[in-house]
């Protein structure tokens, strides 16, 4: 079961901090939920900087970002 991180409503850079923490704890397959463009861009950048790839799906104002192994 992959980890789910709900980062909705959190201000910069907390979505990134939570993403980093998941990666640091060894997660390579997890999901981050954010509710604005900036957080989406930041989380994707964080995931890609850590040599994982990011897949994004949008649901209204919410974005679900899946981090997966390259």
């Amino acid at each position: 079961m992959s980890e789910k991180i709900d980062a909705r409503g959190l201000s910069c850079p907390q979505p990134v901090v939570l993403t980093q923490r998941a990666i640091k704890n060894g997660a390579t397959d997890f999901q981050v939920i954010v509710d604005n463009e900036t957080s989406k861009e930041n989380v994707i950048r964080c995931i890609e900087n850590n040599k994982l790839s990011a897949e994004v799906s949008a649901d209204g104002d919410t974005y679900v970002i899946n981090a997966v192994k390259k």
Partner: protein, 358 residues
């Protein structure tokens, strides 16, 4: 569609343009090495409204309104306008107050620190080191679970109020509104407050910067924070571009004057240049953005950022009324004490507002 301005090239172009526009505004009348300083210009607005009576720093700065309204317009167009609020409102207000107190001890926000550096004012280096130290402390708190909590979606009008306030300020400026012959509005007749580029050029420049800063998420505090936190050099490439291009254009305009002494609207008390920016950097880091970024977020409908801005404007009033603000002669009578109190305040917030870390 991919957002071009959020790319590496995009952030570099944004930083370059902000640098060029800022020093060009100085050439056209804005105060030296101040360009588009957010803290200074909010302080001038506080002065124009009569929240403080330092008669050399009173003017409704159109650049500030431009940042907010430019961001508001482009966020609406790009469907990124999102009214939201509810994340530790009163704490953000006080973080804004103390951020301004720190900035006015140094005499500038991070944008101005970069512009001062670009003009050859080496005191800015001391300030930037302080800023980095303050942000470093903020990053430690973030790593250990610091959070001001979530914001929540609001009704449309909740996000309009701040851009509307800025529009009202602009109307008051354009029609030179005054309740009596002596004011308010107050307008400086001498000093930095009396120096300004033509109104509509300032407003246009502000709107333009508001648009590109919204698209690129340009943030000076974020640039340093991201390096410390994640070795992410994305935002800092924009900041470096700002310094490079502002320096080049300062050289072209003959505005580059290197040294520590006799720099425009600056002092050489290194300890408090450093400590002032430690306080500001820490407050910005805890609040999640530099003063410029907070204006842009306010335009996008983020009421918590707008409250931070209001805190800064009130903080400017407090700074000048209570003799906290520095002047070219040195620090204000109670500036150092206020910086210490501010840092203690931020540390208490940092230690107490933490979520459990697994």
């Amino acid at each position: 569609m991919k957002n071009f301005f959020s790319s590496k090239v995009g952030i570099i172009i944004t930083g370059s343009l902000i640098g060029i526009i800022a020093v060009t505004l100085q050439k056209m009348g804005n105060p030296a090495n101040m360009g588009v300083c957010v803290a200074c210009f909010e302080r001038d607005i506080a002065g124009a409204l009569g929240l403080h009576r330092a008669d050399v720093v009173q003017y409704i700065r159109p650049e500030i309104a431009g940042f907010v309204l430019g961001s508001f317009a482009i966020a609406l167009i790009k469907k990124e306008y999102q009214p939201r609020a509810g994340s530790s409102t009163i704490l953000r207000f006080f973080l804004g107050i103390f951020a301004m107190i720190g900035a006015l001890v140094f005499l500038g926000c991070p944008w101005r620190a970069l512009l001062r550096l670009s003009g050859g004012d080496w005191n800015a280096i001391v300030g930037l080191l302080g800023l980095t130290a303050g942000i470093g402390i903020g990053v430690l708190f973030l790593k250990y679970g610091f959070s001001l909590g979530r914001n929540y979606k609001q009704k449309k009008s909740s996000g309009w109020i701040f851009p509307a306030f800025m529009a009202v300020l602009m109307i008051m400026l354009i029609f030179h509104f005054r309740v009596s012959e002596t004011g308010p509005l107050f307008f400086s007749e001498k000093g930095p407050g009396s120096q300004h580029a033509p109104l509509f050029i300032s407003l246009g420049a502000g709107l333009f910067i508001g648009v590109i800063a919204q698209r690129s998420r340009f943030c000076t505090m974020g640039s340093i924070r991201d390096i410390i936190l994640a070795k992410d050099f994305h935002l800092v490439s924009g900041v470096l571009a700002l310094v490079v291009f502002a320096t080049i254009f300062n050289l072209i305009y003959g505005q580059f004057k290197p040294g520590f002494e006799a720099q425009p609207i600056a002092h050489t008390v290194h300890l408090w240049n450093f400590m002032g920016m430690v306080l500001s950097g820490l407050a910005f880091a805890l609040a999640g953005g530099c003063p410029g970024r907070q204006l842009i977020l306010s335009g996008e409908g983020d009421s918590d950022a707008a409250v931070f801005v209001m805190g800064m404007i009130v903080g400017a009033g407090i700074s000048h009324n209570f003799l906290l603000a520095s002047s070219p002669a040195g620090t204000g009578a109670f500036g150092p004490a206020a910086v210490v109190i501010g840092i203690i305040f931020c540390l208490i917030i940092g230690f107490t507002m933490r979520e459990k870390v697994n």
